[in-house]
């Protein structure tokens, strides 16, 4: 049995084929729209027939996503999408399974399932809409809200240290870890494409603007003026440079990254070169940690991408091995296992 979504059949599907008949009901201006549109744009190119897609979500504004996709879908319960997704993949590994979750859904109530599905390397695509707030419940701080944030449930400022979702994914053993942002749909499309093509678990954090309860949380990387100074686009094999004129670069000294000014954007000697295939997570962790530092750029792109056996491969391999060893199960035989005796 193939444990990968088959992509051999050439299918002609268009973006609009993925739109369900349900009216999209996010707030006007919500970043979720761009993510939905981008994903609809990416899917047709993947060569997977529409009926093989399953979108699984938890609860939250973001988790309404499956209703808007004309594919199979489950809008489940808060935080539990990874569990359902795992069951789906193990029931039918030919399906392309996408988990849509939020910073609350995925990292607060659902944190454990998230780290476990990543540890197991289940071949799903996880898109975490990080708006650093609970949208659906009308604006409480989330596990990614910065310390000090004033919200409905933190009237005097939140006192929680936030998670760095990329670090958590890396530590859990995720084999594909990336970040993108709602306002840069081209970048987003490319990241989604790579995530879909990755064999194994893909974790994508999307910075998503909640216009109502946390507007401008990612201004640093979305503001047309500011963003060049703050966004560090990761490209494998390319030096880590940023700035409007690409005149800033990152240099490694010991375990420390520091920003250096470049005379000439072409002269990048001494600047660290991005290696998304580094098998160790320490390197990617170092990049991830930049986000927590006020004076450092915010990396966008693929932090890590490595290939190892997926959970499904091991799962079905083992079943095949047992079948080879014991033969296809014979019910009559099974009924007779253990001590049996005959009474005449």
């Amino acid at each position: 049995m193939a444990t990968q979504p088959s992509n051999t059949i050439p299918v002609k599907i268009r973006k609009q084929d993925f739109s369900s008949d349900q009216e999209v009901r996010w707030c006007p201006g919500c970043g979720d729209y761009a993510i939905l549109a981008t994903l609809k744009r990416v899917l047709p190119d993947l060569g997977i027939p529409r009926e093989k897609y399953v979108f699984v979500s938890g609860i939250g504004c973001s988790s309404r996503f499956p209703y808007y996709m004309n594919t199979y879908g489950i809008h489940s319960i808060h935080g539990r999408a990874p569990t359902i997704a795992t069951g789906i993949r193990l029931a039918n590994p030919e399906l392309s399974v996408w988990i849509i979750t939020g910073d609350g859904d995925g990292l607060s109530i659902g944190g454990n399932h998230l780290i476990h599905i990543m540890r197991r390397n289940v071949n799903v695509n996880i898109i975490l809409f990080n708006n650093e707030i609970y949208g659906l419940t009308k604006g409480q701080y989330s596990p990614t809200s910065p310390k000090g944030q004033v919200t409905k449930s933190s009237p005097y400022g939140s006192i929680d240290n936030p998670f760095n979702p990329i670090k958590v994914a890396l530590a859990s053993g995720a084999t594909f870890v990336a970040r993108t942002v709602d306002r840069d749909t081209k970048h987003m499309a490319e990241v989604f494409r790579q995530a879909a093509q990755h064999k194994g678990v893909s974790f994508v954090e999307v910075y998503q603007n909640c216009v109502i309860f946390n507007d401008g949380a990612f201004r640093e990387v979305t503001d047309p003026q500011e963003k060049w100074e703050h966004a560090l686009y990761l490209e494998h094999g390319k030096p880590l440079v940023f700035g409007k004129e690409k005149k800033k670069g990152l240099k490694l000294t010991g375990f420390h990254l520091e920003v250096v000014e470049l005379e000439d954007p072409e002269q990048t000697d001494g600047i660290l070169v991005h290696d998304q295939f580094n098998p160790d997570t320490a390197y990617a962790t170092l990049l991830a940690e930049l986000t927590d530092k006020p004076d450092m750029p915010i990396p966008l792109g693929i932090f890590r991408s490595i290939e190892t056996e997926t959970y499904e491969e091991a799962f079905f391999r083992q079943i095949e091995e047992v079948k080879k060893m014991k033969g296809e199960g014979d019910l009559k035989q099974l009924m007779l296992t253990g001590d049996t005796w005959k009474v005449d």
């Binding site: 009926e51 209703y67 319960i77 569990t83 359902i84 069951g87 193990l90 029931a91 039918n92």
Partner: protein
């Protein structure tokens, strides 16, 4: 049991209990005795009594492992209230088990283990073999360790290895006592130790030595014979409740043409279901040990969505955690089988003790209106049929189903006439086809079940979830009338399950003075009590529920036909509440909540009192 000089006394049924340290091979000894007893045609029922600790220090009371078998020449339904013969391998085993003994019971002790240290470990200040405290019993002190060593003198084995054979010596003694052949055990030993013939030899020698000792010593004045029972012909095996649940679900999967997906998280006493099922990967069985019980049921539900039959097995604390997902299963109307192997609660409670106190939880334990069918097996082997039926209802009605087993059934064992699988009712799946105008929440007019549309099928793409759905379309709806309609449809669907179920039959007259109404694992105790009472000429009938939800149609008829209804349960009165509510009958609860199965004697006394009123 009268005594004659080395004569054979016939008895109808006997209860024997082996007890010793966890390391003494007690469970193995018990299983051998069971096997031989089954082979010679007795009816029987067994129950192991594991210590709560994994491996308690030798000689302590909390480290005592026990195995009880009740066998006879007539139908046997329980492992026995009280014990005729106790084999106690050390003082702790004696101490812990005294309370289970009948007056004048036989006690065979390994005197070699009644050392000062062991006595102290067991909390004895005096040697009970000497202080007269065992006066009411027939005590047979045997130097089991010494005699075993002597029997194996010639063999080149370490002392430790030789001492490990002493359980077979004890078994030999009991074999003689109940006139059982040694051959089946000898054969078993030969197979088991095929690779270590010297160990095989040692164990066989010990077994024979025990038998010979018992036969030749002056100690035993008589021995006993239990005639074979009239047993239905066929092939039998011994089966525990957990094994039977596992088998039942495997067979259901095959019959339905579905893979079984088991999402589970270990918990006593349900873990063995996961263990058992994970062996049978060549039977279309997939097992997934999840990170917790929430993930376990979540994965099972996901698998059901994708076209497998989702199954999850747990006990009280785990059931508690599945509550939210149970509601999603009810709302999404997907098939799911949930095994709840009940143990004594609340909270962690007494994980190694039995109880029936999850019934009201199964019935009402979800926020909102959330009806779920509930089935309860009545004996270890019946777990097979309960699991099968649960799967059938889950698939045909697109609903989660709760199977309420318990620790007593899970670990208990009985011989089982292996059924012809052809005789099991078929399981039909209501799969949506590509060419239909599929509406996710359109219902079958008969069952009210919606159709199952499997991801991967072109044209059936649809979304489901936990929000209220519009009738037929399944779109999200906040419409007031639609909500009420859906709440009622979900309830009515579960009522319709009744249509495919066989109604239980009453055991005894259709009307009269007293009806005993029961469910689950109390069956054996009640059947035994009722049989004995009826033999005494008492007017008692018994109706045993298999499905607790929906309740069978004929139940009300019987309830109305009797002057009294007695409901025995191992809880504070769960079924009682349900029956009172449904039928407004002043049912008499009989409740024991001790982490133990009900006792035949106690129940009989209560019934007698009611009849005497």
């Amino acid at each position: 049991m009268a005594k004659t000089n080395k004569t054979v006394v016939k008895v109808d049924d006997v209860t024997v209990r082996f007890a010793g340290d966890s390391g003494d091979g007690i469970q193995l000894t018990g299983k051998q005795f069971t096997r031989t007893t089954a082979l010679i045609g007795n009816e029987l029922s067994t129950f192991p009594d594991f210590p709560a600790e994994i491996r308690a220090p030798a000689g302590t009371t909390y480290g005592v492992s026990g195995f009880q078998i009740h066998f006879g020449s007539h139908p046997i339904y329980t492992p026995g209230d009280k014990v005729d013969v106790l084999v106690a391998m050390n003082p702790a085993a004696l101490k812990v088990n005294l309370k289970y003994l009948k007056p004048n019971a036989i006690i065979i002790v390994n005197v070699d283990n009644f050392t000062e240290r062991n006595l102290r470990l067991a909390g004895y200040t005096q040697n009970p073999l000497e202080d007269g405290s065992l006066k009411g019993y027939q005590v047979y002190p045997v130097q089991i360790t010494e005699l075993t060593r002597k029997a194996l003198e010639e063999l080149e084995l370490s002392q430790k290895e030789k001492d490990r054979c002493k359980n077979f010596f004890a078994l030999g003694v009991v074999y003689w006592l109940y006139s059982r052949p040694l051959e089946p055990t000898i054969e078993w030993i030969q197979k088991k130790f095929a690779k270590r013939p010297e160990l095989a030899k040692a164990n066989i020698l010990a077994l024979k030595a025990g038998r010979n000792f018992a036969e030749s010593t002056e100690l035993f004045a008589s021995h006993y014979k239990v005639e074979p029972a009239k047993i239905k012909p066929g092939i039998y095996r011994n089966i525990t409740g957990n094994e039977a649940l596992s088998l039942g679900i495997i067979v259901a999967g095959r019959k339905a043409g579905l893979d079984i997906f088991v999402g589970s998280y270990p918990i006593t006493p349900a873990s063995d279901i996961l263990h058992e099922l994970s062996i049978h990967k060549n039977f279309g069985v997939k097992t997934f040990q999840a990170e917790d019980e929430i993930a376990a049921i979540g994965a099972a539900l996901g698998a059901s969505f994708a076209g497998n039959l989702g199954v999850t097995a747990t006990s009280g604390p785990g059931m508690a955690l599945k509550t939210e997902f149970m509601n999603l299963a009810v709302m999404t109307e997907l098939p799911l089988v949930v095994f709840d192997v009940q143990r004594a609660g609340p909270s962690t409670g007494m994980p190694t003790k039995t109880e029936q106190a999850d019934l009201l939880f199964a019935m009402y334990g979800r926020p909102g209106e959330s009806p779920v069918p509930i089935v309860a097996p009545r004996s270890p082997s019946d777990c097979f049929y309960a699991a099968y039926e649960a799967a059938r209802v889950a698939i045909q009605f697109m609903t989660p189903v709760i199977v309420l087993s318990d620790l007593y059934l899970a670990n208990g064992a009985e011989p089982w006439l292996i059924p012809d699988l052809e005789t099991l009712p078929p399981i039909s799946k209501n799969l949506a086809q590509t060419d239909e105008d599929y509406l996710p929440y359109q219902r079958d007019p008969q069952t009210l079940a919606r159709k199952w549309a499997l991801p991967g099928t072109p044209g059936l793409e649809h979304r489901i979830g936990g929000l209220e759905k519009e009738e037929n379309t399944g779109n999200v709806s906040y419409d007031p009338d639609n909500h009420e309609k859906m709440v009622k449809l979900r309830a009515e669907k579960i009522e319709r399950v009744r249509d495919i179920l066989t109604e239980p039959e009453i055991d005894g007259p259709d009307e009269g003075e007293l009806l005993i109404l029961s469910w689950g694992s109390t069956y054996g105790t009640i059947v035994t009590a009722v049989k004995e009472l009826r033999d005494e000429g008492k007017d008692v009938s018994h109706y045993h529920l298999r499905w607790l939800n929906p309740l069978p149609r004929n139940l009300e008829y019987y309830i109305r036909n009797f002057n009294n209804v007695l409901i025995p349960e191992v809880n504070l009165g769960h079924l009682s509440r349900i029956i009172r509510d449904r039928y407004l009958v002043d049912a008499i609860p009989f409740n024991r909540v001790k982490g133990q199965p009900l006792m035949v004697q106690e129940l009989k006394e209560t019934i007698d009192q009611i009849l005497a009123r």
